[in-house]
């Protein structure tokens, strides 16, 4: 059963990877109306994540599959319970993904405008809803004795969960805008830096409120300590952006997202989905996990392949390390 505890953190790691990586994709998508003054700007913005959004998004597929394999009960309860929220996330991810690919296939401005809209909505909706979903998991939901979610849609839209959603929304927004300062240059970069100063302030206030709430209501000493690190990292990222140190600022934004998610997982521990109506019905690491044999097989696979994955994905980021410029976008045929 010890492996189940390891897998709790592997699943946590995969979600951290997802939110750090696709988090800035969401932010870039949401920034289009704020930073994309003309079509060339918008293309520059989209191309900052062009080569990598797909691999970033794949982290959620792997996280989901690992959740399924390591904690079938958790996967079953969570995915059937948060039905409509997940449906919206899926629809958003669908339109976002095809929009990246199809937007540049037709030079008409009406066509592009349409896909810009879908990128914006397709980025904002998951950024909001993932926060709502995770806050609800931490807070606990109504479960039956057989671990079936009984609450329906409305209880999921409670103040704490909505604050969680707004937190991830503004956090990913700032994360993405800081990423843009790292990946663009000139006037666009400067505008992004200024936008990150504004949105960063909002993010600090909202995220701090959420983390304090989480720690007091649901947290442990450890999750609280990690939440403090997240808050400090966020403030550091903010100050670094003020001074125009975009590389370090982005690194600290990534630390912020990672530690904030980690803090949620620690607040959850050792439950995976607490039952708010009766603690005896809670899903825990122990009662939701797969058999020892399955987890052993999975552990070996993850230990071998996760490092390999991280190496070749790291290399990909290195290949595309250059800043995207207006000239480079304009030079390409249409």
């Amino acid at each position: 059963m010890d492996l189940a505890y390891l897998w709790f953190f592997i699943v946590g790691f995969l979600f951290i990877g997802y939110f750090v990586l696709d988090g800035f994709d969401f932010g870039v998508g949401m920034s289009l109306p704020f930073l994309g003054k003309d079509d060339t700007d918008r293309r520059v913005l989209i191309n900052t994540i062009g080569p990598v959004w797909d691999l970033n998004e794949t982290w959620v597929i792997v996280a989901g599959a690992s959740l399924f394999a390591a904690f079938p009960e958790w996967y079953a309860t969570l995915f059937s319970g948060f039905y409509l929220a997940l449906l919206l996330i899926l629809l958003a991810l669908i339109v976002r993904g095809v929009s990246f690919e199809y937007r540049h296939k037709n030079p008409e401005s009406k066509w592009k405008k349409w896909f810009d809209g879908m990128i914006i909505v397709g980025s904002a909706l998951p950024a909001l809803l993932w926060g709502v979903a995770f806050a609800n998991i931490v807070q606990g939901v109504a479960l039956s004795e057989n671990h079936i979610y009984t609450g329906g849609l409305l209880p999921l839209l409670n103040p704490y969960a909505l604050l969680g959603g707004i937190t991830t929304l503004v956090l990913f927004f700032t994360h993405g805008v800081v990423f843009i300062t790292l990946k663009t240059e000139g006037e666009l970069k400067e505008r992004a830096r200024k936008l990150a100063i504004k949105s960063g302030l909002v993010t600090i206030v909202v995220a701090a409120t959420f983390l304090v709430w989480t720690t007091i209501a649901f947290g442990s000493v450890l999750s609280g300590a990690v939440a403090v690190i997240a808050a400090l990292a966020l403030i550091t990222a903010y100050l670094l952006n003020l001074r125009g140190r975009e590389g370090w600022s982005f690194a600290f934004m990534s630390v912020t997202v990672a530690t904030a998610v980690l803090s949620l997982f620690l607040a959850l521990f050792p439950d995976v989905m607490p039952a708010s109506n009766n603690p005896a019905y809670s899903l825990t690491i122990e009662n939701a996990s797969s058999s020892d044999y399955t987890l052993t097989v999975m552990t070996w696979t993850a230990l071998i392949f996760l490092p390999v994955v991280m190496v070749y994905q790291g290399w990909t980021y290195w290949v595309f390390r250059k800043r995207v410029t207006r000239q480079s976008v304009l030079a390409a045929a249409h």
């Binding site: 062009g50 797909d54 079938p72 409509l84 669908i94 690919e101 199809y102």
Partner: protein
């Protein structure tokens, strides 16, 4: 209300989203291979028309790839959303190949496709070529793992029941990955995917040839497509035959249902076409090949093939009262049309190769007809999956769990209806957009390659520009 039955709606949703997703999957697998081969030919020979073909079919490939990726996420989430009791029951086993697929295949695919699309001017030529091959390896690995997962549903192996937890648990991962249904389904699926891509290449090149344009690229593309279609088509029959044998072993009911064979018979015949009573239980008229069903099932013309009635009796004895036959008209016709359309595609390849042998050109009507090759393998493949999955009914995991017991207990019919309508609407719109983009790109034809002088010599080399969104 009957129309708000979560089970029926969840089944329709699974069928709809899976069939839709699987239109893009074989194109991705087959087209990635074709593009990799074109690019390899360019790498080896430096002939510019191979580069043009790489970029041209690469573009068509990417228009599809995006759809395959985004519709694939739905598939993974759907098990938990609509089939949570199924997920609870098999998660210990079924989740592992899905996680393997993610870790080993999806990451691979998603990373290297990005490198290929955007890396034309950033990677050395050899390395850039490697990225498309690695993308293809990713698609093939992914196919294997998902087929292994599916094979468990057709033929559960390598598990033990845990009565206390009420679920099946993995005891032998090798048995799960080496499931004979998976090892036979895998070549069948990969070959089918090659047929699908080959038929699309034939259609696209035939369209250009019918207008007497882009001959320098479209003529070699046509030949490539025809040979690939023929080669994979021939091998397809061999793989289908061995899959059939494995299926008879694991799910005799499915083979009986494929022929609507009610009584156990030796020397069972195969009806190519038949007209039956509306309920399908008896036949009015048919065209039959004697002994063929026996041959398909046992490799002898006199082998005994179990009939639906006997199997029904045996299963009732084993699993209790219930209806253990799938919908016969679905299995019967999907099986036939799968074989028929596949054979027709291979026949198109033979005729096409004959008519274009040497440097011959057929009449315009033949080019026009060849333009319509593309639906044949695609439809055959779709029907093959409908046969495989509908033929498994009433089971979701054969012999262990019925489909009706796998559906999410906490999800209402209204919720499933909302998602079914939403997916149908969005998939419908995207299908139109996709088809338009695909047609536009296909009809535009290969773009000319801009050449530049190599520094300090008279040699020319193509200008390689990375894609920009």
């Amino acid at each position: 209300m009957e129309w708000l039955d979560p089970l029926a709606l969840a089944r329709w949703q699974f069928g709809l989203t899976t069939v839709y997703h699987f239109l893009f999957v074989p194109i991705t697998i087959g087209m990635a291979l074709s593009v990799a081969l074109f690019q390899t030919a360019w790498y080896r020979t430096d002939k510019v028309h191979y580069l043009q073909l790489t970029r041209f079919f690469g573009n068509l490939f990417l228009i599809n790839f995006a759809m395959g990726v985004v519709t694939g996420i739905v598939q993974e989430f759907q098990f938990g959303m609509n089939w949570s009791d199924y997920s609870r029951f098999v998660g210990d086993i079924f989740g592992a190949p899905l996680a393997f697929e993610g870790l080993m295949a999806f990451f691979f695919e998603a990373t290297f496709i990005g490198l290929w699309i955007f890396g034309w001017d950033k990677l050395p030529r050899g390395l850039h070529l490697a990225t498309i091959w690695l993308t293809w390896v990713g698609t093939v690995l992914s196919a294997y793992f998902i087929l292994a997962a599916n094979a468990f549903m057709q033929n559960p192996v390598g598990y033990e029941m845990n009565a206390e937890k009420g679920r099946a648990e993995l005891v032998d991962i090798v048995a799960v990955l080496a499931n004979p249904i998976a090892t036979n389904q895998f070549p069948h699926t990969i070959l089918g995917s090659i047929m699908v891509a080959a038929a699309i290449i034939v259609s696209v090149s035939a369209w250009h040839l019918s207008r007497n344009q882009n001959l320098d690229t479209m003529r070699p593309a046509l030949k490539f497509g025809l040979w690939a279609l023929l080669g994979s088509g021939i091998m397809m029959f061999i793989s289908g035959d061995s899959l059939g044998l494995a299926m008879v072993e694991a799910q005799p009911m499915k083979m009986a249902a494929a022929e609507a064979l009610y009584t156990t018979s030796a020397n069972a015949s195969f009806s190519v076409f038949s007209i039956g009573t509306p309920d399908g239980s008896s036949e009015i008229w048919s065209v039959r090949v004697p002994g063929l069903l026996s041959f398909l099932s046992t490799h002898t013309f006199t082998g005994e093939v179990e009939g639906i009635n006997d199997l029904q009796a045996a299963y009732t004895a084993a699993y209790g009262p219930g209806d253990y036959a799938p919908l016969i008209w679905v299995t019967y016709w999907s099986f036939r049309w799968m074989i028929g359309l596949g054979a027709l595609a291979a026949f198109v390849a033979v005729v096409g190769l004959w008519m274009t042998r040497g440097n011959r050109n057929p009449g315009k009507w033949a080019w026009k007809a060849a333009t319509w090759s593309w639906p044949l393998p695609l439809l055959a493949m779709t029907l093959g999956w409908i046969f495989t999955e509908m033929g498994r009914q009433p089971w979701i995991v054969f012999g262990l769990l019925k489909t009706e017991d796998g559906v999410s207990p906490g999800v209402t019919g209204l919720e499933v209806l909302i998602s079914l309508v939403a997916f149908t609407a969005i998939y419908g719109v995207l299908a139109v957009v996709e088809a338009k983009l695909f047609l536009k790109a296909a009809q535009k034809g290969p773009a000319p390659v801009e050449m530049t002088k190599v520094d300090g010599s008279d040699e020319e080399q193509p200008v390689l520009v990375g894609t920009v969104y």
